[in-house]
């Protein structure tokens, strides 16, 4: 064995630390991709919910013509909202994995390795993004079926994909924080439910912000899902205009993710005690 190839000792120079950090992040993501590849049926199951929303719910509500969507057909209007809903629902339950991993001993193995806690948490968060990425394909396929006016520009599709990955990572980090604080699966599920419903309905996923009462409209400014929906809608639909600006939508996702990863990294080892 070559001594220089042995496990890096604590510390090291900044370049090594940076490379070590992202090596761990990508190792966790790679593990998640491999799990998905071993079980592709899981991805197929994700088609059902958006299909029901876009093919059943949206046409019924659209026929009522009660929701003003600024000249955008209602089916088209909610397509990005349904994508955001999928991102939210899958990501907020992702944190429960940390509790399963604790009970199964896997968490202890991660924590007993020299890997940075921040890298482990960011890896987990971005893994949720990887899990959600195929939903982009599902939504674009459904949008094509309902003849939605979609931007087929590769850059716009890339922006949607990036927003889905960032949004998934953000909500996954939030659920990791909750899991690390409550440390109990039943409590985690009830708190998550209490978080998910207000986050979803205090966003423009199903209706424009303008229809909301003033107090709720104010809350949407604090809701990261509002910015995710806004970004997805403006990048995906050719007729849509961003309310906050695409840069702001991205900045909220990145900053929110950074804050939550830092917080989750502090709390992550405490799941053990």
């Amino acid at each position: 064995m070559q001594p220089e190839l042995a496990v890096p000792a604590c510390g090291g120079n900044k370049t090594d630390s940076f490379a070590d950090f992202f090596r761990v992040v990508f190792a966790i993501i790679e593990g998640e991709i491999r799990k998905l590849l071993h079980d592709p049926l899981e991805m197929l199951a994700r088609v059902v919910q958006p299909a029901v929303w876009l093919l059943v719910f949206a046409p019924v509500f659209s026929s009522l013509r009660q929701i003003p969507t600024g000249g955008i057909r209602y089916q088209d209007f909610i397509a990005p909202g349904i994508l955001a809903q999928g991102v939210l629902l899958l990501s907020v339950v992702y944190g429960i994995n940390v509790l399963f991993e604790r009970d199964m001993g896997l968490l202890q193995k991660y924590l007993a390795s020299p890997a940075s806690r921040g890298a482990l948490v960011l890896g987990k968060a971005l893994s949720a993004g990887v899990r959600n990425a195929p939903q982009v394909l599902v939504i674009y396929a459904l949008a094509a079926i309902i003849s939605a006016k979609v931007r087929w520009n590769p850059l716009a599709i890339l922006a949607v994909l990036l927003l889905v990955i960032l949004g998934s990572a953000l909500f996954c980090s939030l659920s990791l924080v909750v899991a690390c604080l409550v440390k109990n699966r039943e409590r985690f599920m009830s708190i998550n439910q209490a978080l998910t419903v207000p986050l979803f309905f205090a966003s423009s996923a199903l209706y424009p912000v303008a229809l909301m009462p003033t107090w709720l409209r104010r809350l949407t400014y604090l809701n990261p899902l509002s910015y995710l929906v806004d970004g997805l809608r403006s990048a995906m639909l050719s007729q849509a205009r961003s309310a906050y600006g695409l840069k702001v939508d991205f900045a909220v996702q990145v900053c929110g993710l950074a804050v939550l990863v830092l917080l989750a990294a502090r709390l992550y080892p405490r799941v053990e005690y």
Binding site: M1, Q2, P3, L5, A6, V7, P8, A9, C10, G11, D20, R23, V24, F26, A27, I28, E30, G31, R34, K35, H38, D39, D103, M104, G105, L106, Q108, K109, Y110, L111, A112, S113, P114, A115, P269, E272, Y273
Partner: protein
């Protein structure tokens, strides 16, 4: 396991090399190590030295503080007071360096069932910073050492309990640590699988001078594996030394069970709820 494979595992960075310098610190040294959970003192002012190259057993009934001691030594839990040195490194001041020098195998069988044995090893090789130029070689070497090469591309959920445990040992060896820490290594395994694990651990110690720390509440495991044991009771070390000496101190016909009862005032719970729960969790994981 082939002798050649076991020898290949050694290298300048492991315990053999450390000892050759003549300045080998003890593998583990605890100084008044204490861990409290609220009003409960799980580990109370423990002073313990584990020599390099030994197989050392922490024995004790459920709740004696064995697993807590291991969690503190592996830096999973911070001590409430006191400290410890692992491979000469302070667990409070140098936790990442400590983690680099040990391989840890927790109580529950924790490999990812949906992934193959090789994929499981690959993830941990990366977490431990094994350089990509030698990663495949190290993984193959550790799988070969644990006689798992032909099952490398098989999903772990198809492994037997003994094979999964061997895989976990292989994972813990992929970065060639000088110290291996196993929490109840053979719980839930049949006697044949248990003996196979013991043989591998003996070979690692004999051929690589690796230090192995195990916790167990099975007397047979302690007798079959350990050079020295510490019997823990209510967070304190009640007895310490080589098993023959502990037995001799009690009487000519004393067994390790007698020693255990004499120092803890209780019998070992073989099986029971803790084991059942563990076995159940293991089977859930592997599904």
């Amino acid at each position: 396991m082939s002798q050649q494979s076991a020898q290949e595992l050694s290298g300048p960075g492991d315990a053999t090399d450390l000892q050759s310098t003549g300045t080998t610190p003890p593998a583990i040294e605890t100084m008044a190590l204490t861990r409290r959970f609220g009003s409960l003192t799980a580990v109370n002012s423990m002073n313990l030295t584990v020599p390099t190259g030994s197989i050392f057993g922490l024995l004790g009934p459920n709740g004696a503080g064995k697993s807590t001691t291991i969690k503190v030594l592996t830096t999973l839990l911070p001590p409430s007071s006191g400290t410890a040195r692992v491979a000469g490194l302070d667990i409070i001041k140098q936790p990442r360096a400590v983690r680099s020098h040990l391989g840890y195998i927790p109580q529950a069988v924790s490999a990812e069932g949906v992934l193959t044995g090789y994929e499981n090893m690959q993830i941990f090789a990366k977490l431990y910073g094994v350089h990509h130029s030698v990663r495949k070689e190290r993984i193959d070497e550790a799988l070969n050492l644990l006689s798992l090469s032909e099952f490398a591309q098989t999903q772990v959920k198809k492994y037997s309990g003994g094979m999964t445990r061997r895989l976990e040992i292989a994972i813990a060896l992929v970065h060639r640590p000088p110290l291996l820490v196993l929490d109840e290594p053979t719980v839930g395994l049949d006697p044949t699988a248990r003996r196979a694990i013991w043989e591998r651990l003996h070979a690692l110690r004999d051929q690589n001078n690796m230090t192995i720390l195990i916790t167990t509440h099975q007397m047979g495991e302690a007798e079959g594996l350990c050079d020295q044991v510490a019997i823990m009771n209510r967070g304190e070390i009640a007895a310490l030394g080589p098993i023959p000496e502990l037995k001799a101190a009690l009487g000519p016909d004393a067994t390790l069970d007698d020693v255990f009862i004499a120092h803890t005032g209780s019998t070992i719970e073989e099986g029971g709820f803790a084991d059942a729960a563990r076995t159940r969790r293991t089977s859930m994981r592997r599904e």
